[in-house]
């Protein structure tokens, strides 16, 4: 649109209306105070600048308006001076002082001092002038109004209130001046420097300086000056009586809106009474004369013992009374007695009511706001506008009342600090401010404060959202009411006044009507019979009252209200009051109008009023307390002992310009929620943080002090970091605990809980973090923080740390820890899944691989540690037992050197299982898996390592096996083969079993007595056997896992179990029905039906991969056997010379199986009761090793036919002898042989199954051809 193009107003307005129709989704739940990037507030208060426009009004009130305007300006200046004093920070402490008069640079120091301090001192000078001028002006006004002629005249409510504000201002300025000792110090520093440099040379400035110095140094200077000046005016007490009375009246009828106005009224009562009570005037006597009502004021003072004076400065208004001359406690029964304490001290009394009010109001507002958003009305009726504007006013009043409850509580607490005696949590040497804030609230109170803050801020958001609607309705309602009242309601009294010739009343009513009448034709209709004092005739005269969307201007409103007040006032300058000339009905009407119109100013400045009603900024300010500590913290001797004089040396002063965040109210509240972890409070956690926004806003717009804003900002930076840190910790540990509890067996969990271990999922609390975790723009000091992202970032890091810890924990233990590792990973995986609902985290598998260090290497820490453990602990130390299907350590004997592992690190509970109780429960559970390696461990291993890890481990194990075979075992085999007898027969049955045993014992004596057999040789065989067993068992575990996978996948692949069919039923129909039932599960068909071509192709391929996963029947163990066979075929293995297809000499002992027979004879010899048995020492690994070698060498049949032990067994079966042969009990020996024979044959059958499967798969038909035997016999 070009600039020159004209846009009509209606177009522009409709453009604005169209904005409403744009949808602006914001997905975050609203749990924080109103965020606003742009603040727009229009202020139409003219401060009576336009008074001359209303010349038709009564001149007296236009004059008064001029006075008001001036007084308001003075009040504003006074406020500026109060801000200056309150925010004064000591400069002189930072300025170096010349140490002696000889110091060469002292002139320079003084010059700079003067230069730096001059502008500040100038402010003080201005302050002194101001207070002089203000007192003069105030007393001038009082003198004028107390003049004998004027005294009985009517003084308007607005006028009295302004005088009250002056009284308040004097009280505030005086207290501030008394409190700020740094002002005096700074000034004396300046004066010293200035006198040295002789800056003030002329007598006048010297005099001024002296005056200022006196002014600053004299306590209560302003107060006393005002009092002295007032006492010179005769009858001043009556005017002050009026001021005090109007305050009492307004306080009691709630004619105020903001908390500060309320507190101002109370302060004026106190200070006003103090000013009145003097030599000439006794307030008690005034009370007797019913000029004032001390009993009512007494009640007010009791209800509000402490009111905020300025910032964190408080004042007890009753103290003014106590200090007054004629103080009589009997007149103040409530306030003078300490008990019961003031209701303001206890928030819990107010809380139920506040909750009710909040609930009621919120529901009404919600109903109304739904109505507004769902229905559209062209022009709402007067009654509707009125209702909405009433609703709005009620909201403002509620907000203001809650806000004042809070500020009053805080004020009371600040004036009544706790100590060690009343609150044991408070340390005896706690600082003053700490005692007033940190330790001064109970947990309940803190929660109540948080709740009220949340209600205030929450309602503020709701009302701010409807601000345009409210403001619109309020303007329309006010306009309608004002015009109706002025043009219609005042018509009748005007007629009567004209008729009865009441000129004064007539002129007042006419001027009211002329001041604000908005006549349809631009001026009052002259034909109105009422103007001639006549009643309406038959052809009735009607006045059409227009409707507009605008309220009266501030001056207009003042004029109307004040003039009407003059009509109804019961004080009228000696003459009889005008009330008597008016009808009771109309009097009532005017009074109602007058009362209601009081609030119009607030409604017309809605945005401003709303902000003021919700302003909790003063909860942060602590200039008063900072001033008290003088920027120092006293560090005392902290050692617990009887303190003596030496301890005084330890007292140090620490320089400090701010209090730590632990003493700051917003942070105390925030931290309280985070510490208590109360789920019902968790969603309020952002509201206390919003107090910083209030304070910062106040620092910028009211105090206008950069350093205060900087301090708020610094504190917020610190707090918010802590907040995010603590919140993420809370969230993480909550979900960790939740996950850990969910994975715990339900009955076990219940048992734990009943024993007080508290592992139930509710132990961690319900935890309402969902809406907190969806906060994407939290407004803080004009910045918007993505809380969700910050928390996600931290929790991501936590996830990494947790998995790292899980792996590290595994690395610090033996291989049995693999089950616990899997459990830890499962808990973390579930925790990740739970959190991923709210936060964007890295993929779990990626995190796991990263913690496993498996991203940059083909295998990770887990695989490496598994292999390490297998090699250094499992193979050397464990023995296999087929009956239990477990590997166990030999009791009491350590075969290999003790294993040195990494030192176990200490991890927090949150990193591992979530909490101490859960850690206990889980460690008890996983303790069951220690001490053995069984199927559970192997399954866990398989799941953790995956195909790749298993293959790495197995191939490494094969390497170990080769080393064993080619190293130790080859060596031993060679050595033992040499020790074998050249020939060893199978003796005939005739010798009897005892004879056979004796023969073999004699033949094999070298072997039996071979010293290293039990200590080394068998261990080497056992290790080999362990490798073989491990490979076999891990394959079993692997295939079980695979089958489970496939079974899980089956229903999705249209693989259904064959249904049961009764007789006469066709299985095909049942099958069809089942297929139809599960049709929706079948992935391929569904993807083909609904997906794209590419998707369907992908799904088909995936399906194929799953289907054919096992169909080629690859067997890991067969491969292992094949590899071992290759190892045995290598030249490093001592094999007898190849003797293919030659005769076998049954007596020959060159082959391995003969050696093994000898070894078997050795371990079949029973041992004594005290010795370790072979089974205990070596388990079944020994047999597996021997049998595997025999089977792989193809000597199985020969072994079975020719074995020594088997022969003894066969013979013994025949003769059934039992005797001691060379110390060997024959029967027991035979029993052992039988047992091992069974075991051997089992092993052989397993092996042959694998070997046969292997052969089959090679696809070559084995045709055995027997070439003719070569002559090889000697």
């Amino acid at each position: 649109m070009s600039v020159s193009e004209k846009v009509s107003l209606s177009d522009a307005l409709s453009n604005v209306d169209v904005l409403d129709e744009l949808t602006l989704p914001d997905e975050q739940p609203c749990i924080e105070a109103a965020p606003c990037s742009i603040l727009y507030q229009a202020n139409f208060d003219t401060n009576f600048e336009d008074r001359n426009g209303f010349v038709t009004g009564i001149a007296k009130y236009i004059e008064e308006a001029t006075v008001h305007a001036n007084l308001n300006e003075l009040l504003e200046q006074g406020n500026a001076h109060a801000v200056m004093l309150y925010t004064w920070r000591c400069c002189s402490r930072a300025i170096p002082q010349p140490r002696s008069n000889e110091q060469p640079d002292r002139v320079h120091i003084y010059e700079r001092t003067v230069q730096v301090l001059a502008p500040e001192v100038n402010k003080l000078l201005q302050f002194m002038y101001f207070q002089r001028k203000a007192i003069e002006r105030f007393c001038g006004e009082v003198r004028r109004l107390c003049h004998a002629e004027k005294r009985r005249d009517f003084v308007s409510e607005a006028y009295l209130l302004t005088l009250g504000k002056f009284v308040n201002m004097f009280a505030v300025l005086d207290e501030l001046k008394n409190m700020k000792s740094s002002v005096k110090n700074d000034y004396s520093t300046y004066r010293r420097a200035a006198q040295f440099l002789k800056v003030m040379s002329d007598s006048q400035s010297l005099q001024e300086s002296q005056n200022l110095s006196m002014f600053l140094a004299t306590q209560n200077k302003i107060r006393d000056t005002v009092k002295d000046a007032l006492e010179k005016i005769t009858g001043y007490e009556e005017l002050l009586c009026d001021v005090v009375n109007i305050c009492v009246h307004m306080f009691e009828t709630k004619m105020y809106l903001t908390p500060s106005e309320k507190h101002m009224l109370v302060k004026v009562m106190g200070f006003g009474l103090f000013l009145m009570d003097s030599e000439v005037c006794n307030i008690n006597r005034l009370d007797q004369k019913k000029k004032i009502r001390l009993d009512r004021i007494d009640r007010i003072f009791k209800n509000l013992e402490v009111v905020p004076l300025f910032g964190d400065m408080q004042i007890a208004p009753f103290n003014y009374i106590k200090r007054s001359k004629h103080y009589d406690p009997s007149k103040w029964p409530l306030s003078s007695s300490p008990s019961p304490p003031s209701p303001q001290a206890d928030l819990m009394v107010h809380l139920p009511q506040i909750r009710d009010e909040h609930q009621d109001y919120i529901s009404e507002l919600a109903r109304y706001s739904n109505e507004v958003t769902t229905t559209f009305k062209e022009a709402p009726s007067d009654a509707e506008n009125r209702a909405v504007s009433d609703l709005c006013l009620r909201g403002l009043q509620l907000l203001s009342s809650w806000c004042s409850v809070l500020t009053e509580l805080c004020s009371w607490k600040l004036l009544h600090p706790t100590d060690h005696a009343t609150n044991p949590r408070c340390p005896p040497d706690a600082e003053e401010y700490e005692r007033a804030t940190r330790y001064n609230y109970t947990s309940e109170e803190k929660f109540a404060v948080i709740e009220v803050v949340a209600m205030i801020k929450g309602l503020q958001v709701l009302m701010a959202r409807m601000e345009t609607v409210f403001a619109d309705a309020a303007r329309r309602a006010i306009y309608a009411e004002l015009q109706d009242f002025v043009t219609l309601a005042l018509r009748e009294p005007l007629r009567k006044a004209i008729k009865n010739k009441k000129d004064l009343i007539r002129s007042i009513i006419v001027s009211v009507r002329e001041t604000c009448g908005d006549w349809a034709r631009g001026c009052e209709p002259q034909q109105d019979p009422a103007l001639r004092g006549k009643k309406d005739s038959e052809n009735s005269f009607t006045i059409k009252v227009p409707r507009r969307n605008v309220g009266p201007s501030s001056t207009q409103l003042y004029m109307v209200r004040t003039q009407l007040e003059a009509l109804i006032s019961d004080k009228s300058g000696g003459r009889r009051t005008l009330r008597k000339d008016l009808d009771a009905g109309i009097l009532q009407q005017i009074e109602t109008f007058h009362r209601q119109s009081f609030y119009w100013t607030y409604l017309l400045n809605l945005a401003d009023s709303l902000a003021k009603c919700c302003d909790l900024s003063q909860l942060w300010y602590r200039e008063f307390y900072l001033e008290m500590t003088m920027g120092r913290k006293v560090n005392k001797c902290t050692v617990r002992h009887q303190h003596n004089e030496e301890c005084n040396d330890l007292i140090t002063m620490e320089k400090r310009i701010q209090f730590p965040i632990e003493m700051s109210m917003p942070w105390i509240l925030t931290e309280h929620i985070l510490r208590s972890k109360d789920p019902s409070m968790m969603e309020y956690v952002l509201y206390p943080l919003d107090l910083y926004n209030d304070s910062a806003q106040y620092a910028l717009t009211v105090f206008k002090k950069q350093f205060l804003y900087d301090e708020v900002e610094a504190e917020v930076n610190l707090c918010f970091d802590q907040f995010v840190y603590k919140l993420s910790e809370l969230v993480y540990s909550h979900y960790k605990q939740l996950a850990a509890s969910m994975l715990l067996d339900a009955r076990y969990r219940a048992e734990c809980a009943s024993r007080g271990a508290g592992a139930s999922p509710s132990a961690g609390g319900a935890g309402r973090y969902a809406s907190l975790l969806r906060q994407r723009h939290v407004a803080l000091l004009g910045r918007h923080v993505d809380l969700c992202a910050l928390v996600a970032q931290r929790i991501n890091a936590d996830m990494h740390r947790a998995l790292d810890a899980a792996v590290a924990k595994f690395e610090a233990g033996d291989i049995t820890g693999v089950v616990e590792l899997e459990g830890l990973i499962a808990v973390n995986r579930l925790c990740h899944k739970l959190l991923s609902r709210y936060l964007t985290l890295d993929e779990f598998d990626a995190i796991l691989r990263e913690s496993d260090h498996g991203v940059l290497a083909p295998y990770g820490r887990i695989t490496l540690h598994v292999f390490w453990e297998l090699n250094y602990d499992f193979l050397p130390n464990y023995c296999y037992n087929a009956a239990t299907d477990r590997f166990v350590k030999c009791r009491g004997i350590q075969f290999a050197a003790p294993v040195v592992r990494e030192k176990p690190q200490q991890f927090g509970h949150a990193v591992l299982w979530g909490s101490k109780q859960l850690s206990l429960a889980y460690s008890a559970q996983y303790a069951q898996y220690n001490g053995f390696v069984g199927p559970q461990h192997l399954h866990a291993l398989v799941r953790l390592l995956g195909y790749q890890g298993v293959s790495v481990v197995v191939s490494e194990l094969l390497g170990v096996a080769r080393m064993l075979l080619h190293g130790n075992l080859a060596q031993f085999t060679r050595a033992l083969a040499a020790a074998m007898p050249r020939h060893c027969k199978l003796p005939r049955y005739d010798y009897g079993s005892n004879g056979v045993l004796g023969y073999y014992h004699a033949q094999l004596t070298d072997i039996v007595q071979y010293p290293d057999a039990r200590t080394e040789l068998f261990h080497s065989f056992r290790e080999l056997g362990n490798i073989i067993l491990f490979c076999m068992l891990i394959e079993q575990a692997l295939s079980q896992e695979e089958v489970t996978d496939l079974l899980h996948a089956a229903p999705f692949q249209n693989i259904l179990p064959r249904p049961f069919t009764a007789e006469g039923e066709k299985p095909e129909t049942k099958q069809k029905r089942l297929e139809a039932k599960y049709a929706s599960l079948q992935i391929v068909q569904n993807v083909e039906k609904y997906g794209t071509a590419k998707q369907s192709q992908l799904s088909r391929e995936g399906d194929l991969l799953t289907r054919e996963r096992l169909c080629c029947g690859l067997s890991l163990f067969s491969v292992v056997l094949r590899r071992l066979k290759a190892v045995l075929a290598a030249p490093a293995w001592p094999a007898p010379p190849p003797s293919q297809h030659t005769y076998i000499h049954t007596d020959d002992t060159a082959e391995f199986h003969r050696l093994w027979s000898a070894l078997q004879f050795l371990y079949c010899i029973p041992v004594g009761d005290t010795q370790f048995t072979v089974e205990e020492l070596f388990g079944e690994g020994l047999h597996w090793a021997g049998c595997t070698i025999i089977a792989l060498l193809g000597q199985q049949r020969r072994f079975e036919a020719l074995d020594f032990c088997y022969h003894i067994l066969r013979v013994q079966r025949v003769d059934g002898k039992d005797e001691l042969v060379k110390g060997i009990p024959l029967k027991r020996m035979v029993d052992r042989i039988r047992r091992f024979q069974v075991l051997n044959s089992q092993i052989f059958s397993v092996l042959s199954r694998h070997l046969a499967a292997d052969d089959e798969r090679s696809g070559v038909e084995h045709v055995r051809c027997f070439p003719p035997p070569a002559a090889h016999h000697p």
């Binding site: 522009a12 307005l13 604005v16 209306d17 904005l19 409403d20 744009l22 602006l24 989704p25 914001d26 997905e27 975050q28 965020p35 606003c36 990037s37 742009i38 603040l39 727009y40 229009a42 139409f44 426009g53 209303f54 010349v55 038709t56 601000e467 345009t468 403001a471 619109d472 303007r475 002329e514 001041t515 604000c516 009448g517 908005d518 006549w519 631009g522 001026c523 009052e524 002259q526 507009r548 969307n549 605008v550 201007s553 945005a607 994407r776 723009h777 993505d786 969700c788 992202a789 996600a792 964007t840 890295d842 993929e843 990626a846 990263e850 498996g854 991203v855 940059l856 290497a857 083909p858």
Partner: protein, 88 residues
């Protein structure tokens, strides 16, 4: 008593009412625009935050994949030869 002067003043006051209504309408509209801008701001922030989160997540995934895949390339016989190792 309806002097012409009074009439002028009344007319002026009436004009003042009209003017102030006009100002109120404009002020109200500015307020509406402000409200719109504020909620537009919130909405944008929310959406940008979501977008930012997605991008961050993607970036991290790429980092991860880059770490998984290490690429070596060199020139041989005037041809660029690229080796990609994938540890999976």
């Amino acid at each position: 008593m309806a002097t012409p002067q009074r009439e002028t003043i009344q007319k002026q006051i009436q004009q003042d009412w009209a003017n102030r209504e006009y100002i109120e309408v404009i002020t109200g509209s500015i307020k509406k625009i402000t409200d719109f801008l504020n909620s537009f701001d919130m909405s944008c922030r929310s959406r940008l935050a979501t977008l930012n989160e997605k991008l961050t997540s993607l970036e991290r995934k790429i980092d991860y994949l880059e770490a998984c895949v290490s690429i070596t390339y060199f020139k041989f016989d005037n041809k660029l030869i690229i080796f990609i190792y994938i540890y999976t």
